[in-house]
Protein backbone atom coordinates (compact mmCIF):
# COMPACT_ATOMS: atom_id res chain seq x y z
CA UNK A 1 0.00 0.00 0.00
CA UNK A 2 1.40 3.38 -0.95
CA UNK A 3 2.01 6.26 1.42
CA UNK A 4 -1.05 8.28 0.50
CA UNK A 5 -3.37 5.31 1.06
CA UNK A 6 -1.74 4.55 4.41
CA UNK A 7 -2.08 8.14 5.55
CA UNK A 8 -5.73 8.18 4.49
CA UNK A 9 -6.37 4.98 6.47
CA UNK A 10 -4.60 6.41 9.50
CA UNK A 11 -6.65 9.61 9.37
CA UNK A 12 -9.92 7.70 9.02
CA UNK A 13 -9.01 5.35 11.84
CA UNK A 14 -8.06 8.24 14.10
CA UNK A 15 -11.30 10.05 13.33
CA UNK A 16 -13.46 6.99 14.05
CA UNK A 17 -11.60 5.56 17.03
CA UNK A 18 -10.56 8.76 18.73
CA UNK A 19 -13.66 10.90 18.69
CA UNK A 20 -16.57 8.82 17.43
CA UNK A 21 -16.06 10.03 13.87
CA UNK A 22 -18.67 12.42 12.54
CA UNK A 23 -20.98 12.07 15.56
CA UNK A 24 -19.62 15.17 17.26
CA UNK A 25 -20.00 17.42 14.22
CA UNK A 26 -23.42 16.00 13.37
CA UNK A 27 -24.58 16.53 16.93
CA UNK A 28 -23.39 20.11 16.72
CA UNK A 29 -25.30 20.65 13.46
CA UNK A 30 -28.49 19.26 15.03
CA UNK A 31 -28.11 21.40 18.14
CA UNK A 32 -27.72 24.52 16.02
CA UNK A 33 -30.81 23.57 14.03
CA UNK A 34 -32.81 23.32 17.26
CA UNK A 35 -31.84 26.81 18.40
CA UNK A 36 -33.10 28.53 15.25
CA UNK A 37 -36.84 27.69 15.36
CA UNK A 38 -36.88 28.46 19.08
CA UNK A 39 -35.30 31.84 18.44
CA UNK A 40 -36.99 32.85 15.18
CA UNK A 41 -40.43 31.35 15.77
CA UNK A 42 -41.68 27.91 14.73
CA UNK A 43 -43.72 28.91 11.63
CA UNK A 44 -42.50 26.51 8.96
CA UNK A 45 -43.23 28.84 6.03
CA UNK A 46 -40.99 31.50 7.57
CA UNK A 47 -38.31 28.99 8.49
CA UNK A 48 -38.30 27.65 4.92
CA UNK A 49 -37.07 31.05 3.71
CA UNK A 50 -34.27 30.96 6.24
CA UNK A 51 -33.48 27.29 5.76
CA UNK A 52 -30.74 27.54 3.06
CA UNK A 53 -28.91 30.21 5.04
CA UNK A 54 -29.22 28.31 8.29
CA UNK A 55 -28.04 25.06 6.78
CA UNK A 56 -25.01 26.81 5.31
CA UNK A 57 -24.24 28.63 8.53
CA UNK A 58 -24.43 25.38 10.48
CA UNK A 59 -22.35 23.57 7.88
CA UNK A 60 -19.58 26.17 7.85
CA UNK A 61 -19.44 26.40 11.65
CA UNK A 62 -19.39 22.64 12.08
CA UNK A 63 -16.57 22.36 9.51
CA UNK A 64 -14.66 25.17 11.21
CA UNK A 65 -14.82 23.69 14.68
CA UNK A 66 -13.46 20.38 13.48
CA UNK A 67 -10.67 21.96 11.46
CA UNK A 68 -8.76 23.35 14.40
CA UNK A 69 -7.11 20.04 15.18
CA UNK A 70 -6.47 19.02 11.56
CA UNK A 71 -2.72 19.66 11.84
CA UNK A 72 -2.20 20.95 15.36
CA UNK A 73 -2.12 17.58 17.15
CA UNK A 74 0.17 16.07 14.54
CA UNK A 75 2.40 19.13 14.91
CA UNK A 76 2.56 18.80 18.67
CA UNK A 77 3.40 15.09 18.80
CA UNK A 78 5.89 15.22 15.92
CA UNK A 79 3.86 13.30 13.33
CA UNK A 80 4.23 16.17 10.87
CA UNK A 81 8.01 15.91 11.07
CA UNK A 82 7.82 12.17 10.39
CA UNK A 83 5.55 12.84 7.43
CA UNK A 84 8.00 15.44 6.15
CA UNK A 85 10.80 12.86 6.22
CA UNK A 86 8.63 10.32 4.42
CA UNK A 87 8.13 9.94 0.66
CA UNK A 88 4.97 12.06 0.47
CA UNK A 89 5.19 15.63 -0.80
CA UNK A 90 3.72 18.31 1.47
CA UNK A 91 1.00 18.90 -1.10
CA UNK A 92 0.01 15.23 -0.92
CA UNK A 93 -0.04 15.31 2.89
CA UNK A 94 -2.36 18.31 2.88
CA UNK A 95 -4.54 16.82 0.13
CA UNK A 96 -4.93 13.46 1.87
CA UNK A 97 -5.65 14.96 5.28
CA UNK A 98 -8.22 17.32 3.78
CA UNK A 99 -9.82 14.45 1.87
CA UNK A 100 -10.02 12.42 5.06
CA UNK A 101 -11.63 15.37 6.81
CA UNK A 102 -14.24 15.59 4.08
CA UNK A 103 -14.94 11.83 4.16
CA UNK A 104 -15.29 11.66 7.94
CA UNK A 105 -16.89 15.05 8.64
CA UNK A 106 -18.03 16.78 5.45
CA UNK A 107 -20.02 14.00 3.82
CA UNK A 108 -21.83 12.93 7.03
CA UNK A 109 -22.63 16.60 7.67
CA UNK A 110 -24.03 16.89 4.13
CA UNK A 111 -26.30 13.91 4.83
CA UNK A 112 -27.25 15.43 8.16
CA UNK A 113 -28.49 18.56 6.40
CA UNK A 114 -31.39 16.46 5.01
CA UNK A 115 -33.27 15.94 8.31
CA UNK A 116 -32.32 19.48 9.31
CA UNK A 117 -33.74 20.80 6.03
CA UNK A 118 -36.97 18.87 6.56
CA UNK A 119 -37.32 20.12 10.12
CA UNK A 120 -36.89 23.69 8.89
CA UNK A 121 -39.68 23.26 6.35
CA UNK A 122 -37.68 22.97 3.13
CA UNK A 123 -39.75 21.56 0.25
CA UNK A 124 -39.07 17.82 -0.17
CA UNK A 125 -38.12 18.19 -3.83
CA UNK A 126 -35.29 20.53 -2.76
CA UNK A 127 -33.63 17.91 -0.59
CA UNK A 128 -31.54 16.17 -3.30
CA UNK A 129 -30.13 19.52 -4.39
CA UNK A 130 -29.49 20.43 -0.75
CA UNK A 131 -27.48 17.25 -0.26
CA UNK A 132 -25.44 17.81 -3.45
CA UNK A 133 -24.66 21.46 -2.69
CA UNK A 134 -23.85 20.66 0.94
CA UNK A 135 -21.47 17.86 -0.09
CA UNK A 136 -19.70 20.10 -2.62
CA UNK A 137 -19.67 23.04 -0.22
CA UNK A 138 -18.24 20.88 2.57
CA UNK A 139 -15.42 19.84 0.22
CA UNK A 140 -14.64 23.51 -0.51
CA UNK A 141 -14.79 24.22 3.23
CA UNK A 142 -12.39 21.36 3.93
CA UNK A 143 -9.87 22.66 1.39
CA UNK A 144 -9.97 26.31 2.48
CA UNK A 145 -10.15 25.25 6.10
CA UNK A 146 -7.11 23.04 5.62
CA UNK A 147 -5.30 26.09 4.27
CA UNK A 148 -6.21 28.08 7.39
CA UNK A 149 -5.32 25.23 9.74
CA UNK A 150 -1.94 24.74 8.05
CA UNK A 151 -1.12 28.46 8.20
CA UNK A 152 -2.08 28.64 11.88
CA UNK A 153 0.11 25.71 12.97
CA UNK A 154 1.86 26.65 16.19
CA UNK A 155 0.03 29.96 16.60
CA UNK A 156 -0.58 31.37 20.04
CA UNK A 157 -4.36 31.37 19.65
CA UNK A 158 -6.06 28.57 17.80
CA UNK A 159 -9.75 28.33 17.03
CA UNK A 160 -10.86 31.93 16.63
CA UNK A 161 -7.74 32.73 14.61
CA UNK A 162 -8.55 30.04 12.04
CA UNK A 163 -12.15 31.28 11.91
CA UNK A 164 -11.08 34.85 11.13
CA UNK A 165 -8.65 33.66 8.45
CA UNK A 166 -10.97 31.20 6.80
CA UNK A 167 -14.49 32.62 7.02
CA UNK A 168 -13.95 35.30 4.31
CA UNK A 169 -12.75 32.50 2.02
CA UNK A 170 -15.86 30.45 2.86
CA UNK A 171 -18.15 33.05 1.31
CA UNK A 172 -18.05 32.07 -2.41
CA UNK A 173 -19.26 28.47 -1.84
CA UNK A 174 -21.98 29.79 0.47
CA UNK A 175 -23.12 32.34 -2.12
CA UNK A 176 -23.42 29.83 -4.95
CA UNK A 177 -24.62 26.90 -2.83
CA UNK A 178 -27.44 28.86 -1.26
CA UNK A 179 -27.97 30.55 -4.65
CA UNK A 180 -28.66 27.19 -6.29
CA UNK A 181 -31.32 26.40 -3.66
CA UNK A 182 -32.95 29.80 -4.01
CA UNK A 183 -32.94 29.51 -7.81
CA UNK A 184 -34.69 26.14 -7.61
CA UNK A 185 -37.24 27.44 -5.13
CA UNK A 186 -37.98 30.32 -7.52
CA UNK A 187 -38.51 27.92 -10.39
CA UNK A 188 -35.27 28.78 -12.17
CA UNK A 189 -32.57 26.30 -13.14
CA UNK A 190 -30.01 25.74 -10.36
CA UNK A 191 -27.46 24.70 -13.00
CA UNK A 192 -25.42 27.92 -13.31
CA UNK A 193 -25.07 28.35 -9.54
CA UNK A 194 -24.19 24.66 -9.22
CA UNK A 195 -21.50 25.01 -11.90
CA UNK A 196 -20.04 28.04 -10.11
CA UNK A 197 -20.11 26.11 -6.82
CA UNK A 198 -18.16 23.31 -8.49
CA UNK A 199 -15.72 25.93 -9.82
CA UNK A 200 -15.27 27.22 -6.26
CA UNK A 201 -14.45 23.67 -5.13
CA UNK A 202 -11.81 23.34 -7.86
CA UNK A 203 -10.21 26.70 -7.07
CA UNK A 204 -10.29 25.90 -3.35
CA UNK A 205 -8.69 22.54 -4.12
CA UNK A 206 -5.74 24.03 -6.00
CA UNK A 207 -5.21 27.03 -3.73
CA UNK A 208 -5.87 25.09 -0.53
CA UNK A 209 -3.41 22.32 -1.31
CA UNK A 210 -0.63 24.64 -2.54
CA UNK A 211 -1.00 27.24 0.23
CA UNK A 212 -1.52 24.53 2.85
CA UNK A 213 1.75 22.90 1.79
CA UNK A 214 3.45 26.30 2.06
CA UNK A 215 2.03 26.53 5.59
CA UNK A 216 3.43 23.09 6.47
CA UNK A 217 6.88 24.06 5.15
CA UNK A 218 6.70 27.35 7.04
CA UNK A 219 6.00 25.56 10.30
CA UNK A 220 9.19 23.52 10.05
CA UNK A 221 11.99 26.05 9.62
Amino acid sequence: MNGAGLLLRREMALAWNGGGGPLLACGFLLSLAVIVPLGAGPQLDQLANLAPGLVWLALSLASLLTLERLFERDFEDGTLDLLAMGPLADEAVVGVKVLAHWLTIGLPLALMTLPVGISLGLAPDQLPLLAVTAALGALAFSFTGGLGAALAIGARKGGLLIAVIVLPLFLPPVIFGAGALVAQADGRSPGPALALLAACVLVAGVVGVLAGAAGLRGSRT
Binding site: A152, G154, V164, L169, G218
Partner: protein, 242 residues
Protein backbone atom coordinates in the same frame (compact mmCIF):
# COMPACT_ATOMS: atom_id res chain seq x y z
CA UNK B 1 15.83 47.10 -7.48
CA UNK B 2 17.55 44.45 -5.37
CA UNK B 3 20.06 46.98 -4.19
CA UNK B 4 17.11 48.67 -2.52
CA UNK B 5 16.22 45.45 -0.71
CA UNK B 6 19.08 46.14 1.68
CA UNK B 7 17.34 47.92 4.59
CA UNK B 8 20.21 50.39 5.08
CA UNK B 9 20.32 51.35 1.39
CA UNK B 10 16.54 51.57 1.33
CA UNK B 11 16.51 53.82 4.38
CA UNK B 12 19.21 56.08 2.93
CA UNK B 13 17.59 56.40 -0.51
CA UNK B 14 14.00 56.92 0.64
CA UNK B 15 14.72 59.02 3.74
CA UNK B 16 14.71 62.35 1.80
CA UNK B 17 11.38 61.44 0.17
CA UNK B 18 9.33 61.17 3.34
CA UNK B 19 8.97 64.81 4.37
CA UNK B 20 8.17 66.02 0.80
CA UNK B 21 5.60 63.23 0.46
CA UNK B 22 3.78 64.39 3.61
CA UNK B 23 3.83 67.97 2.31
CA UNK B 24 2.56 66.93 -1.14
CA UNK B 25 -0.17 64.79 0.42
CA UNK B 26 -1.32 67.63 2.67
CA UNK B 27 -1.25 70.15 -0.19
CA UNK B 28 -3.22 67.89 -2.54
CA UNK B 29 -5.73 67.00 0.18
CA UNK B 30 -6.41 70.64 0.97
CA UNK B 31 -6.62 71.59 -2.73
CA UNK B 32 -8.91 68.68 -3.51
CA UNK B 33 -11.15 69.25 -0.49
CA UNK B 34 -11.56 72.97 -1.22
CA UNK B 35 -12.20 72.27 -4.90
CA UNK B 36 -14.72 69.57 -3.99
CA UNK B 37 -16.78 72.17 -2.13
CA UNK B 38 -16.72 74.56 -5.10
CA UNK B 39 -18.00 72.18 -7.80
CA UNK B 40 -21.61 72.80 -8.85
CA UNK B 41 -24.31 70.66 -7.29
CA UNK B 42 -25.37 67.60 -9.25
CA UNK B 43 -28.75 67.88 -10.96
CA UNK B 44 -30.06 64.70 -9.30
CA UNK B 45 -27.89 64.22 -6.23
CA UNK B 46 -27.56 67.79 -5.05
CA UNK B 47 -24.92 68.33 -2.41
CA UNK B 48 -24.39 64.65 -1.66
CA UNK B 49 -22.39 64.32 -4.87
CA UNK B 50 -19.45 65.70 -2.90
CA UNK B 51 -19.16 62.34 -1.12
CA UNK B 52 -17.75 61.17 -4.46
CA UNK B 53 -14.46 62.89 -3.74
CA UNK B 54 -13.96 61.00 -0.47
CA UNK B 55 -15.58 57.71 -1.39
CA UNK B 56 -14.13 56.88 -4.82
CA UNK B 57 -10.43 57.48 -4.01
CA UNK B 58 -10.79 55.57 -0.73
CA UNK B 59 -12.27 52.57 -2.54
CA UNK B 60 -9.65 52.65 -5.33
CA UNK B 61 -6.77 52.99 -2.90
CA UNK B 62 -8.20 50.32 -0.62
CA UNK B 63 -7.98 47.95 -3.58
CA UNK B 64 -4.61 49.19 -4.82
CA UNK B 65 -3.01 48.99 -1.37
CA UNK B 66 -4.12 45.38 -1.05
CA UNK B 67 -2.43 44.82 -4.41
CA UNK B 68 0.76 46.29 -2.95
CA UNK B 69 0.37 44.09 0.13
CA UNK B 70 -0.13 40.97 -1.98
CA UNK B 71 2.88 41.76 -4.19
CA UNK B 72 5.03 42.37 -1.10
CA UNK B 73 3.93 38.97 0.20
CA UNK B 74 4.87 37.39 -3.13
CA UNK B 75 8.30 39.03 -3.02
CA UNK B 76 8.78 37.85 0.55
CA UNK B 77 7.89 34.26 -0.34
CA UNK B 78 10.23 34.23 -3.34
CA UNK B 79 13.24 36.22 -2.11
CA UNK B 80 12.80 36.12 1.69
CA UNK B 81 13.75 39.79 2.07
CA UNK B 82 12.57 40.91 5.50
CA UNK B 83 11.90 44.33 3.99
CA UNK B 84 9.14 42.82 1.83
CA UNK B 85 7.47 41.43 4.94
CA UNK B 86 7.76 44.81 6.64
CA UNK B 87 6.28 46.45 3.53
CA UNK B 88 3.28 44.12 3.60
CA UNK B 89 2.75 44.77 7.30
CA UNK B 90 3.05 48.54 6.85
CA UNK B 91 0.36 48.46 4.15
CA UNK B 92 -2.28 46.92 6.41
CA UNK B 93 -3.22 49.98 8.43
CA UNK B 94 -3.64 52.51 5.57
CA UNK B 95 -5.26 49.87 3.38
CA UNK B 96 -7.79 48.81 5.99
CA UNK B 97 -8.45 52.46 6.86
CA UNK B 98 -9.15 53.35 3.20
CA UNK B 99 -11.40 50.31 2.76
CA UNK B 100 -13.26 51.11 5.98
CA UNK B 101 -13.62 54.73 4.87
CA UNK B 102 -15.03 53.57 1.52
CA UNK B 103 -17.56 51.35 3.31
CA UNK B 104 -18.62 54.08 5.74
CA UNK B 105 -18.88 56.88 3.16
CA UNK B 106 -20.67 54.42 0.88
CA UNK B 107 -23.27 53.84 3.58
CA UNK B 108 -23.61 57.60 4.17
CA UNK B 109 -24.07 58.09 0.41
CA UNK B 110 -26.39 55.12 0.00
CA UNK B 111 -28.86 56.33 2.61
CA UNK B 112 -29.95 59.50 0.72
CA UNK B 113 -29.46 58.11 -2.81
CA UNK B 114 -30.61 54.48 -2.61
CA UNK B 115 -32.76 54.85 0.50
CA UNK B 116 -30.72 52.28 2.41
CA UNK B 117 -27.45 52.20 4.32
CA UNK B 118 -26.44 48.81 3.07
CA UNK B 119 -27.43 46.25 0.46
CA UNK B 120 -25.91 42.82 0.05
CA UNK B 121 -24.95 43.31 -3.57
CA UNK B 122 -21.74 41.97 -5.06
CA UNK B 123 -19.68 45.19 -4.92
CA UNK B 124 -20.48 45.98 -1.30
CA UNK B 125 -20.04 42.38 -0.16
CA UNK B 126 -16.70 41.96 -1.93
CA UNK B 127 -15.46 45.25 -0.42
CA UNK B 128 -16.45 43.96 3.01
CA UNK B 129 -14.53 40.77 2.26
CA UNK B 130 -11.53 42.91 1.31
CA UNK B 131 -11.75 44.59 4.72
CA UNK B 132 -11.97 41.18 6.42
CA UNK B 133 -8.91 40.00 4.47
CA UNK B 134 -6.90 42.95 5.80
CA UNK B 135 -7.96 41.95 9.31
CA UNK B 136 -7.17 38.28 8.66
CA UNK B 137 -3.66 39.18 7.46
CA UNK B 138 -3.04 41.44 10.47
CA UNK B 139 -4.35 38.85 12.93
CA UNK B 140 -2.30 36.00 11.47
CA UNK B 141 0.82 38.20 11.28
CA UNK B 142 0.57 38.86 14.99
CA UNK B 143 -0.32 35.34 16.10
CA UNK B 144 3.14 33.78 16.39
CA UNK B 145 6.03 34.16 18.79
CA UNK B 146 8.52 33.48 16.00
CA UNK B 147 8.83 36.43 13.59
CA UNK B 148 9.91 34.32 10.62
CA UNK B 149 7.08 31.84 11.07
CA UNK B 150 4.58 34.71 11.32
CA UNK B 151 5.95 36.36 8.17
CA UNK B 152 5.81 33.14 6.15
CA UNK B 153 2.28 32.16 7.18
CA UNK B 154 0.85 35.66 6.77
CA UNK B 155 2.52 36.07 3.36
CA UNK B 156 0.79 32.95 2.04
CA UNK B 157 -2.54 34.28 3.27
CA UNK B 158 -1.90 37.73 1.80
CA UNK B 159 -1.13 36.13 -1.55
CA UNK B 160 -4.30 34.02 -1.48
CA UNK B 161 -6.32 37.16 -0.73
CA UNK B 162 -5.29 38.62 -4.10
CA UNK B 163 -8.02 36.42 -5.64
CA UNK B 164 -10.56 38.88 -4.24
CA UNK B 165 -9.21 41.91 -6.14
CA UNK B 166 -10.59 41.06 -9.62
CA UNK B 167 -13.84 40.01 -7.94
CA UNK B 168 -14.22 43.47 -6.40
CA UNK B 169 -13.23 45.22 -9.61
CA UNK B 170 -15.52 43.26 -11.94
CA UNK B 171 -18.35 42.60 -9.48
CA UNK B 172 -20.37 45.45 -11.01
CA UNK B 173 -20.03 43.87 -14.47
CA UNK B 174 -20.56 40.21 -13.53
CA UNK B 175 -23.61 40.71 -11.33
CA UNK B 176 -26.59 43.03 -11.34
CA UNK B 177 -25.68 45.40 -8.57
CA UNK B 178 -27.31 48.43 -7.05
CA UNK B 179 -23.84 49.93 -7.04
CA UNK B 180 -23.20 51.67 -10.37
CA UNK B 181 -20.64 50.27 -12.82
CA UNK B 182 -17.27 51.95 -13.34
CA UNK B 183 -17.47 55.45 -14.78
CA UNK B 184 -13.84 56.58 -14.47
CA UNK B 185 -11.82 53.76 -16.02
CA UNK B 186 -14.03 52.25 -18.67
CA UNK B 187 -14.11 51.43 -22.37
CA UNK B 188 -14.94 54.54 -24.38
CA UNK B 189 -13.41 57.00 -21.90
CA UNK B 190 -14.70 58.46 -18.68
CA UNK B 191 -18.34 59.41 -18.36
CA UNK B 192 -17.54 61.99 -15.69
CA UNK B 193 -17.99 65.69 -16.39
CA UNK B 194 -14.64 67.58 -16.33
CA UNK B 195 -16.00 69.75 -13.51
CA UNK B 196 -16.02 66.63 -11.32
CA UNK B 197 -13.15 64.78 -12.99
CA UNK B 198 -10.36 67.18 -12.02
CA UNK B 199 -11.02 67.46 -8.28
CA UNK B 200 -11.54 63.69 -8.23
CA UNK B 201 -8.15 63.09 -9.86
CA UNK B 202 -6.53 65.48 -7.36
CA UNK B 203 -8.13 63.63 -4.45
CA UNK B 204 -6.92 60.33 -5.92
CA UNK B 205 -3.38 61.71 -6.10
CA UNK B 206 -3.73 63.02 -2.54
CA UNK B 207 -4.83 59.64 -1.17
CA UNK B 208 -2.00 57.97 -3.07
CA UNK B 209 0.62 60.40 -1.75
CA UNK B 210 -0.79 59.98 1.76
CA UNK B 211 -0.50 56.23 1.46
CA UNK B 212 3.10 56.47 0.25
CA UNK B 213 3.97 58.83 3.10
CA UNK B 214 2.44 56.53 5.73
CA UNK B 215 4.00 53.47 4.13
CA UNK B 216 7.52 54.87 3.99
CA UNK B 217 7.29 56.33 7.49
CA UNK B 218 6.15 52.99 8.90
CA UNK B 219 8.90 51.16 7.01
CA UNK B 220 11.51 53.53 8.39
CA UNK B 221 10.21 53.05 11.91
CA UNK B 222 10.43 49.31 11.42
CA UNK B 223 14.00 49.49 10.09
CA UNK B 224 14.99 51.68 13.04
CA UNK B 225 13.27 49.29 15.46
CA UNK B 226 15.26 46.38 14.11
CA UNK B 227 18.45 48.41 14.27
CA UNK B 228 17.78 49.21 17.93
CA UNK B 229 17.14 45.54 18.67
CA UNK B 230 20.40 44.57 16.95
CA UNK B 231 22.35 47.24 18.84
CA UNK B 232 20.85 46.14 22.16
CA UNK B 233 21.81 42.54 21.43
CA UNK B 234 25.37 43.63 20.58
CA UNK B 235 25.53 45.72 23.74
CA UNK B 236 24.38 42.78 25.84
CA UNK B 237 27.08 40.56 24.31
CA UNK B 238 29.78 43.12 24.97
CA UNK B 239 28.64 43.65 28.56
CA UNK B 240 28.90 39.94 29.18
CA UNK B 241 32.46 39.78 27.92
CA UNK B 242 33.68 42.63 30.12
Amino acid sequence: MFGLANPDTFARVTRPLIAPLWVIAAGLLITGAVWAFRVPEDALQGDTVRILFIHVPAASLGLAVYGALGLSCLFYLIFRHSLADAAARAAVLPGAAYTGLALITGALWGQPMWGTWWVWDARLTSMLVLFLLYIAYAVLRGAFDDEGRAARAASVLGLVGLINLPIVKFSVDWWNTLHQPASLLRAGGTSLDPAYLWPLLIMMAAYFALFLAIWLTTLHTEIMRRRVLAMRARQAREDRHV
